[in-house]
Symmetry: C2
Subunit: 431 residues, 2 copies
């Protein structure tokens, strides 16, 4: 039996796919679908979302996007959405799946040059993108600011409503009879070197669940249970409401050096996101966070100022040192990882499940937990005996994360595993 | 018996003072303390709040401010706040009453000149104010922006927490046994030309309450029940939260031509207000409203960006053509008005009650409902027969309001009663 720790979009997707494959699974989460998945905008945008220097992530995203339509159609059907028996229509209505593309817009000459570079790179990879003038951008999206000078259309990019997706996953799991235990995992049970289940809190729930495998899909909280280089990256996000849709597709751009995106939904909701803040487990909605979102969103689409504010939340993304998720068996027998999805949890959920089912061996290699073991072992030679795998990665993330948060999109610093020093190790141990 | 229509800070204050004076009163409101009083910041700031061209309002505010300490002490005692038997301390803790002054700050040369002019005028009136340099401002309030070039300190200005004040008024009324009917007044009952009570909705409450006098204190909704030139002026306001107080006193200023204020509370709350919008009965919190508040607040006090957002609401102020409230017997026998307090409801509540008790005949004249009767009669000669008193005022407000909202503080347009024309009359009738 498998225990899935974490009921966000990744944990629920893995549980659902494993259950469909005949596996006996149980999901444990104190508040399913209430973490990063609740805050997420739901862009399925591998092309426009990642920088062109992040090729592994781009490959992962493109593969997962290809899997989304069938994933969504099957999910919608299993969750009970079947309008007129049309699976695509069920996915559209039930999950908010739309595939009208993303328009990445630029204001300044530098932005335009970056778009050109990105377009050339995408074409080299055989990914369909289209360079547009400012006028062409405004023809597609008339509410765009007059100062938009050009754009890059990724017509294949899609998006879903993550809250509908997790609701559908919960419904599908319930229909399949998969147990959902609303409890917190306080620690992993061990039989010698092997992970053998989970211990639960608070009292009142079963004190423990024994399992053949534990799949750790606890997002930003994963490092509390196992030695994984995952840190919380705070994101504040805002949902606006309009009577008529302001946009026909996802629009994004870089304003004052920070990326901002606007995701429209059929019901008139317009999601504006998102800040990227390295503040630990802080989920306060702040005046400064709202200010930046509003300032940048109105720069792209001035008309947003007229919209009603429906919802403001902050979530914690599970960041990794190289921005690539950590998926697959860990070095510890019995422990499987499905975490570190950072900004891509919704996009990468179908692929994550597929990797754990052994369906994508080549892509699985890109996400392998072993890549951090190797770095640590090479650098220190102590990982095997002291278990500082996480500490090594922790050091990387410390230096990396700050740079990554500040770097303009499209120019992230290259991943560079740093040797752990005493300070970094101490920091990791203090957590 | 008197029926008070409206359970905001004005209606409740009037009810409480009338009851204390031995009058038999009943308050009617579908949702007491949930309107403009709930949104209000609670500045008791006649000196810094009004423009120096609004002398009547300044006189009213100064008089009401003088009455606030005893009003608050008596209210705190009647509501049951009596820490160590010290009434002033009870008012401070129970109602959030503080009298640490308001600091009005200026950025540009024009702003400084306006402050000088205002200071001279205040001194002429014998009101204590002090002109400060930028450095002196920052010595008082170290969190002020470095770009603040000067300020005007009104050391006598005070503030309360309006939510605590209405809660205390409701508690005091309950202790006195004053009935509070949670219902909506659908119309005024009439015996011939005389108002004789109120008709209530929904079914289930007593269908009507007969009364010797009806006191209309329904704020922005007053014009739905009687012919009064009151219109809704929307204000969006934001409550931030900090662990340590950012400011020691109220701070205000004009940024990009719009006024903004920050009101600190002992519990770390910092109120940032407020927009002024002429949009009818619209209480949506909008992206644009929030953006302007945040943009301007951080211009005055950059540190606000670090604070948590605790609450965002929009309220409707009851505006009048000349920004002065309408208090006293109306032209209709049996109908008394206590409405049109615009931005000054909290400040002017004690004075409003005093006027209705006959304690302030001279100030009562400034607020007399008859001032609108006269204008209308003079201009049209038909008010007596067609009852277009409200229509005349309606026309005034139409032109006036838009200008007033746009005018920089300190330079409001002079009140100018406009002759009602067909369009304006039609507009009023359509409401």
């Amino acid at each position: 039996m498998d225990v899935i720790v974490g009921g966000g979009v990744v944990g629920l997707s893995v549980a659902w796919r494993l259950s469909r494959a005949g596996q006996d699974v149980t999901v444990v989460d104190p508040a399913p679908a209430a973490g990063a998945s609740h805050a997420a905008a739901g862009m399925l945008a591998p092309v426009s979302e990642v920088s062109y220097t992040e090729q592994p992530l781009l490959r992962l995203g493109a593969a997962s996007l290809r899997g989304w339509p069938s994933f969504a159609a099957e999910l919608a059907a299993e969750a009970g959405f079947e309008p007129a028996g049309d699976p695509a229509e069920a996915a559209r209505i039930g999950l908010g799946l739309r595939a009208d593309g993303t328009l990445d817009v630029a204001f300044g000459a530098d932005d335009l040059a970056a778009l050109d570079e990105l377009a050339a790179y995408m074409e080299k990879l055989g990914l369909p993108v289209e360079r547009l003038t400012g006028r062409e951008c405004r023809r597609l999206e008339p509410m765009l600011a007059p100062s938009v000078r050009g754009g890059l259309l990724a017509p294949g990019d899609a998006w879903v409503d993550p809250r509908r997706v997790t609701a559908a996953l919960l419904a599908a799991l319930e229909r399949r009879g998969v147990p959902l235990v609303r409890a917190r995992v306080s620690e992993l049970l061990r039989d010698g070197d092997t992970v053998a289940g989970v211990r639960l809190e608070p009292p009142g729930v079963p004190p423990e669940i024994r399992a053949d495998r534990v799949v750790l899909a606890a997002g930003a909280w994963s490092a509390e249970l196992a030695d994984v280089p995952v840190r919380p990256v705070k994101g504040q996000i805002m949902r606006l409401r309009s009577t008529e849709p302001l946009l026909g597709r996802c629009v994004r751009g870089t304003v004052h050096g920070t990326p901002v995106y606007l995701v429209p939904r059929g019901d008139g909701e317009l999601v504006v996101g998102a800040t990227q803040e390295e503040l630990g487990f802080d989920t306060r909605v702040t005046a400064g966070g709202l200010y930046e979102l509003l300032r940048d969103a109105r720069e792209l689409v001035p008309g947003v100022t007229e919209l009603e504010v429906a919802d403001i939340v902050a979530g914690l993304r599970p960041g990794t040192p190289d921005n690539v998720p950590i998926i697959g068996p860990s070095a510890v027998p019995g422990l499987v990882l499905a975490t570190g999805h950072h900004r891509g949890g919704v996009l990468l959920a179908p692929l994550t499940a597929a990797i754990l089912l052994g369906e994508e061996p080549e892509l699985a290699a890109l996400c392998s937990p072993a890549r951090f073991d190797d770095a640590s072992t090479t650098d220190t030679g102590t990982a095997g005996t002291t278990g500082t795998t996480g500490a090594g990665a922790g050091a990387t993330e410390e230096t990396e994360s700050t740079d990554a948060a500040r770097a303009p999109r499209g120019r992230p610093p290259a991943p560079r595993p740093a040797p752990p020093d005493r300070a970094a190790t101490a920091h990791t141990e203090e957590r």
